[in-house]
Symmetry: C2
Subunit: 152 residues, 2 copies
């Protein structure tokens, strides 16, 4: 019996260890995607303030922030993993609908990335507000599209 | 007196409003740079696990993460603004030494960006661990350099 008990204990510890690791992985993934979205909001928010006329339009700064948003937009998708949605974790506003409609969600995130890349290509250090308005609105709409369907 | 009192009240409100805005700006800046560093750690940590042999080396994933780190490395510098250091705000580990030694700090951050860009250029979808080892270590050292001097 002693040997069996030892084996069972080892198996239990191994299971615990794996479970802890999985939890860490989920928390890290949530933390990562939320951080990336915070960084996107910081850059895109300033661009929005320029478009709305709340602050002066600065083509060079707009261009730099458009590059940042384009790079950031490609990052979060990998972090929407099973077990990281609002049904199983309260630290997130990401709805289980993401896992249930993965094709739609990942296409939406892909479109966000494509639109952000197009805005980054359009913006230059000498572009005017009119030059970037249409590309900017496309990015804003792709944010809203996913938020409406997949964010609490 | 009535007119003077009104003017003083308006001035006081205007001051309050500006103060609140400045506080928001500082909190947003701290939040932004911490988010960017979280995203850097997420990507660089996985690259480190590959380099240490904790997980299999995957050239394609390493390359993608090196691109992410290079893009992210250029973002946080703008968010180290006066009033956002540990002497005036407890939400941060960024030491006042940053403001007091701005040239050294900004050069360090610039070197981090240069080293991250060099690693991203070196890494390809078919590079080996040996191919990227030296460029990877340079990035790791530039992280440590700033943390030793400027992070609590």
């Amino acid at each position: 019996m002693k040997k069996l008990a030892t084996v069972t204990l080892s198996a239990a510890l191994a299971l615990t260890s794996t479970t802890v690791f999985a939890d860490d992985k989920i928390e890290d993934a949530i933390d990562y995607r939320q951080s990336v979205f915070t960084a996107i909001r910081y850059n895109f928010g300033t661009m929005g303030d320029m478009m709305k006329g709340k602050i002066d339009f600065d083509a060079k700064e707009f261009n730099r922030r458009a590059d940042n948003v384009a790079a950031l937009s490609k990052m979060p998708l990998e972090a929407f993993i099973p077990g990281s949605y609002k049904d199983s974790d309260d630290d997130t506003d990401a709805l289980p609908a993401i896992g249930e409609n993965w094709d739609k969600f990942s296409k939406g995130m892909g479109m966000f990335g494509d639109n952000a890349a197009a805005l980054a290509s359009t913006a230059t250090d000498s572009s005017s507000k009119d030059d970037v308005a249409s590309a900017f609105m496309k990015v804003a709409k792709s944010c809203k599209g996913c938020h409406d369907n997949f964010k609490d």
